[in-house]
């Protein structure tokens, strides 16, 4: 949680990204185009919402000043709920620093987000700002709408069955219930194999998928 004092000193974050003057000259700033931003005296590099802040780290810089980022994190104290460490991967041998940052993120409560260009970094900043009040609905499983899509999604779970096969299947049997039940019927496999484009392999996979048990049989 942000400290109450911190919240008071920033009356309202408003609709713009707050940028620390330290970031002056960072090409990321030039790429922030769709969201307004302004300089402000803040402990982090960017403030993206009342509970979200962001530190920017270029791995190139990190290689030269490995202690820098730890000082910055320390300065954040325990403010902000979501503390992003926006890391620009701009050196070819990134492996070692990334291992180190993974460990740091655990110890110091920061969330590492990698980006590969200033544009991408700017996009992350914009996204965080614009999603400040967004609900998580978008990642809670947006279902496909409409029977055709849902049906295709369902039928194409077994790997070798594709969209064309799915449509051929329902048009042969009419409903999914019948298409599922056909595997248990006498000569059902023969009938399935007769569906346009369905070979033995697909029939076998379909059978396995709909007849295979969900659980361990003890």
């Amino acid at each position: 949680q942000p400290l109450p004092g911190g919240a008071a000193s920033r009356p309202s974050v408003g609709s713009s990204i707050l940028v620390s003057p330290r970031q002056k000259g960072n090409p990321v700033l030039a790429s922030i185009k769709s969201t307004p931003w302004e300089y402000s005296d803040i402990p982090s590099d960017y403030v993206l919402g009342s509970t979200t802040c962001c530190l920017f780290l270029s791995l190139k810089y990190h290689r030269l000043h490995p202690e820098y980022i730890y000082t910055r994190i320390r300065l954040l104290q325990h403010r902000y709920l979501l503390r992003i460490l926006l890391t620009l991967v701009d050196i070819p041998n990134y492996e070692e620093p990334l291992r180190e940052l993974s460990k740091t993120s655990l110890v110091n409560n920061v969330t590492v987000i990698l980006c590969w260009s200033a544009q991408e970094a700017a996009r992350y900043l914009e996204l965080y700002k614009s999603y400040e009040f967004a609900s998580a609905q978008g990642i809670m499983g947006a279902r496909k709408q409409g029977y055709a899509e849902q049906m295709v999604e369902f039928v194409t779970v077994p790997r070798s069955i594709n969209k064309t096969d799915a449509i051929a299947l329902v048009s042969e049997f009419g409903s999914l219930r019948r298409a599922v039940n056909v595997v248990a019927e006498n000569g059902g496999e023969e009938r399935l194999a007769g569906v346009q484009g369905w070979g033995e392999k697909k029939v076998r996979q379909w059978k396995k998928a709909v007849e295979g048990g969900f659980r361990v049989q003890k």
Partner: protein
């Protein structure tokens, strides 16, 4: 080594050819990697080898990486051998796959010994939990050695085996030399993965092989080149043109794509879609939506190249219709979602020509003109006539020169590519002497020659079915895609007119018009001259139907009558059902190529004549082996192929490729130097090795070692054994404890729980909301949940899309996440779970390093606690730990079924568990009614589920 060598047993082998015996002796003597050219009898060699060990008894031999079919074959062959050589000690093959579940049973079986074929996922867990002690294994036989790469499960198995057991034998087999030639010193690398020192190569041109097969008992082969019809060639050319268009589009979008050597010939010879895929693969998560679609189109086009040869004219048209329906744009999309090839003139040619092969109709069909203007054409496959000729020739041959007494049956064996073709040929042979008696109007279409066999009857029947199907399909189509059409026609999208690019304009317009319904039947559609008209001419279909209807009555009556006469009078009556008991003497057997199984077919059928309806290089060798193995059987082979077709090219190139691969391998073997250690990760520290042995023994159980320096331990979900990470962690001297976890994939410490997602997993689990649910449960049970985003070794380590990022934010709103990119979803996730830590790893190797570091100062995790997390009341964690052994197989592993269930509308990540606990499989759920389901998921969801399964696309809405 096995006790077999010390106590030789009289063993009867069935290896008639010199090279086979030679190879067998070699294998008995030492461990090696055998690469045998396809069709030279690899399975026979393996079964003989296994039998020689089996007969000795007192062995524990593990067969790794065998497929179901091979298991069946090995099982049968071993039983047969055992009976023939009457070895009392032989115990045959025990297959351990998903059907065996109980840990206890497996333990007993292993203790009893014998030959086991074990699914890799089960085997690795059994070895890790010491249920199957590696030291007790006499030897391992590895099939499909070509699939074993350093990070694969099989390589992991071999490493565990070799670490603890240096004495047991290890023999690897492959009949696919291709994968051994890719990369830098591939053969040496592969051999190092398998801890083998010696490679034994047996191409077809090996001196001993050639001598064995090319003696005086050579099989007689007659090649028949069949020309394609003009329209077939036309369609083939048009498809190639579409391929070219698609590739051109790809190049435009992805400048890095290397397609310089691309020309139309290479489309004929190679799997071009795979080639493109392979090039795009490192960046697959970054390429645009359109690129993905085009890559998919290429696969479709390649399928068409094949089916133009394999399918008859009517089925091909039907397939085109289905393909076309499946490629309609999704509703509400404002992007240019069409596949580019569909807009080309070539596509037009494909659809038009395919239709004209079936029926010709003047475009302006109306009620008055139908009977004159619509007439079935029904072009037949050229191979059919040739096939009939060949059969006739054989018939004559048999008649004039009565069979020389020999061991083979008089059977004629027809081999073709798949069961579909089998069915097609069966139908053709059954009906080729039936004359359709048609209405006078269309009579002139048919060949007046009465005796000539023709597929006319078959084709007419197919056409009738097709027209019926089409009527239904039009219905299905409207039910399925009514939303699309509404969306399309109603789309108030000002951008669309400008959006359509070069060439696409008229097509686009056409689509929009079509969506309006009713307009489609308007004769004015002619001006578009469209591809889509296939579905939009109800009246034309109706006309055709009525036309065919006239003939249907008499043909039907005719057919019934003729089939009877056919059954009694036709000299070829015994041709039809090959699975009935007929006298083998004069039977026609139609069979599909099935790899190694074909040897069985040859042995059982003992054919005198073989007609290869489609070329297959390995089958020719099987015939050679068959012929050379039997002194007294004469075989004549007819070999049919379409000249200048994909089929011919593919056959030639497969032969050439195999030869090249072997040549390369021989060269590499000659210059290879191998330094071998038993451990692939260098010399092992004896102390850590010691500690590890101690700990693995108790890993599956509850007792923890009280050693002062515990080796690092990771609890791993059994489902994770599909990835290479457990193997790599094991390689870094960590103890792997396989368990059945409800929460998380890897438990590094009592606090740290990691959910691993590859980039593609990440995308899909964002889409269905799985990741959100997983994060929720992780936070309920662990202090430090982490999301591991793991990139593939070979993939580029970036998420940045190729597209221009600037300004794209405008079009993105958080509510409509469907169209959003990965970045915005990661943002939403971190906003929803601010305490979630993200680990970015460029490869599984990196992940292993990171895990080691994360664990460094933490306590070791407790397997029981890890399993308990997320379990409900009354579920015993002990089960979970044991299930680490037991549940590898069985239903919990059937992710596919669960995934399918998850796709059903109404099923959510929350209520899915209730259904899984109650219902057995998808079929059971599909048959449940609302009251039953309401109990599990509540009424609202239940209604949705039942509606989904019950919805009938054939009924009117």
């Amino acid at each position: 080594m096995s006790s077999a060598s010390s106590a030789p047993q009289p063993v009867k082998l069935s290896l008639p050819l010199v090279y086979q015996q030679k190879l067998f002796e070699e294998l008995r003597k030492e461990d090696e990697l055998v690469i045998l050219a396809r069709g030279l009898g690899l399975m026979r060699l393996i079964t003989n080898l296994l039998h020689s060990y089996d007969a000795a008894g007192n062995n524990l031999i593990v067969v790794v990486n065998a497929e179901d079919r091979e298991n069946a074959w090995i099982g049968e062959a071993l039983a047969e051998h055992a009976a023939v050589s009457m070895s009392p000690k032989a115990r045959g093959l025990t297959v351990v796959n998903t059907d065996f579940t109980s840990v206890g049973t497996r333990e007993k079986m292993y203790a009893h010994g014998g030959i086991f074929s074990i699914t890799s996922r089960i085997l690795v867990v059994d070895l890790l939990t010491n249920l199957l002690n590696p030291e007790t294994i006499t030897g391992m036989i590895v099939l499909h050695a070509d699939r074993i790469v350093a990070t694969s499960l099989e390589a992991f198995i071999l490493r565990i085996y070799r670490q603890k057991n240096k004495a047991g034998f290890l023999k690897a087999f492959s009949d696919n030399p291709d994968p051994f030639t890719v990369g830098f010193s591939p053969l040496a690398t592969m051999m190092r993965n398998m801890f083998l020192r010696k490679a034994s190569l047996w191409p077809r041109f090996h001196v001993q092989v050639a001598q064995s097969l090319e003696g005086k008992k050579k099989a007689e082969v007659i090649e028949l080149e069949v020309p394609m019809t003009d329209s077939m060639r036309e369609i083939q050319t048009a498809i190639m043109e579409c391929v070219e268009i698609s590739i051109h589009e790809l190049k435009k979008e992805n400048t890095g794509l290397e397609m310089e050597d691309w020309n139309l010939d290479s489309a004929l010879t190679r799997n071009f879609d795979l080639m493109v895929r392979r090039q795009l693969d490192p960046n697959w998560h970054r390429v645009s939506w359109k690129t993905k679609q085009i890559a998919g189109d290429l696969t479709v086009l390649r399928g068409m190249l094949q089916s133009i040869l394999a399918l008859d004219a009517v089925s091909f048209l039907q397939q085109l219709d289905t393909i076309h329906a499946a490629h309609k744009p999704a509703p509400g999309t404002t992007r240019q979602t069409e596949s580019p090839w569909l807009f080309s003139d070539a596509a037009q040619t494909i659809f038009e020509t395919a239709r004209h092969r079936v029926y010709s109709s003047k475009q302006k069909a109306n009620a008055n003109s139908t009977l004159e203007s619509l007439k079935p054409v029904l072009e037949e496959q050229p191979k059919w006539a040739v096939l009939a000729d060949v059969l006739e020739e054989i018939d004559r041959d048999l008649y004039f020169e009565p069979a020389v007494r020999d061991d083979s049956n008089g059977t004629i064996l027809i081999m073709c590519a798949d069961t579909d073709t089998c069915r097609q040929l069966r139908d053709y042979l059954q009906t080729m002497h039936i004359r359709p008696r048609t209405a006078k109007k269309v009579e002139e279409v048919y060949d007046p020659e009465e005796d000539k066999p023709s597929g006319a009857f078959l084709m007419r029947r197919k056409l009738r079915n097709y027209l019926n199907w089409k009527r239904e399909f039009a219905q299905v189509n409207t039910v399925l895609f009514s939303e699309n059409q509404k969306a399309l026609s109603g789309a108030v999208d000002p951008r669309l007119p400008q959006a359509r690019g070069r060439g696409g304009a008229p097509a686009n317009k056409r689509r929009r018009v079509r969506g309006g319904g009713g307009v489609g039947s308007n004769p004015s559609r002619l001006e578009n001259g469209s591809i889509v008209q296939h579905f939009e001419k109800p009246n034309e279909v109706a006309d055709l139907m009525s036309e065919i209807q006239i003939t249907e009555d008499d043909t039907n009556g005719q057919a019934a009558e003729e089939i009877i006469t056919f059954a009694t009078a036709d000299p070829l009556e015994d041709m039809d059902d090959y699975y009935q008991l007929y006298d083998m003497q004069d039977l026609v057997v139609i069979h599909a190529y099935e790899g190694d199984q074909d040897e069985h077919v040859l042995e059982e059928v003992k054919p005198k004549y073989i007609i290869m309806y489609e070329p297959d290089a390995s089958f020719i060798r099987r015939v050679e082996v068959y012929r050379s193995s039997h002194n007294d059987r004469n075989v004549r082979v007819y070999f049919l192929y379409y000249g200048g077709s994909v089929e011919e090219q593919r056959y030639l190139s497969s032969v050439r490729r195999e030869k090249d691969a072997f040549t390369k391998l021989i060269k590499e073997r000659a210059s290879m130097s191998i330094v071998m250690t038993t451990d692939s990760h260098g010399v092992e520290d004896p102390e850590s090795a010691f500690l590890r042995t101690i700990n693995t023994r108790i890993a599956g159980g509850g007792k923890l070692a009280k050693a002062t320096a515990q080796p690092p331990r990771v609890v791993v979900d059994v489902r994770e054994f599909r990835s290479s990470l457990p193997s790599l962690l094991h390689g870094r001297s960590m103890v792997i404890v396989p368990c059945m976890l409800t929460v998380g994939d890897y438990i590094l410490s009592p606090n740290i729980c990691v959910e691993r997602k590859s980039v593609s997993d990440l995308i899909s689990s964002f889409k269905d909301g799985r990741l959100y649910a997983q994060c929720e449960t992780m936070f309920q049970h662990y202090k430090n949940p982490m999301l591991l985003i793991e990139f593939d070794q070979s993939k580029s380590f970036t998420l940045e899309p190729f597209a221009d990022l600037s300004g794209s934010l405008r079009s993105v709103n958080p509510e409509n996440a469907g169209a959003n990119d990965l970045q915005s979803k990661i943002v939403l996730l971190t906003l929803a779970f601010p305490k979630l830590r993200i680990i970015w790893s460029s490869s599984p190797y990196e992940t292993a390093e990171i895990f080691e570091r994360l664990k460094a100062l933490e306590e070791e995790p407790d397997p029981i606690a890890a399993v308990r997390a997320g379990l409900g009341e009354g579920e015993s964690p002990e089960d979970g730990v044991n299930e680490g052994r037991g549940a590898v197989n069985g239903g919990t592993f059937n992710m596919e079924a669960q995934e399918m269930l998850g796709k059903v509308p109404g099923v959510t990540p929350k209520n899915i568990k209730n259904i899984i606990m109650e219902a057995e499989n998808v079929r059971e759920v599909a048959n449940m009614e609302v009251p039953e389901l309401s109990r599990l998921v509540g009424r609202e969801a239940a209604v949705k589920i039942v509606e989904f399964f019950k919805k009938d696309v054939l009924e009117d809405v």
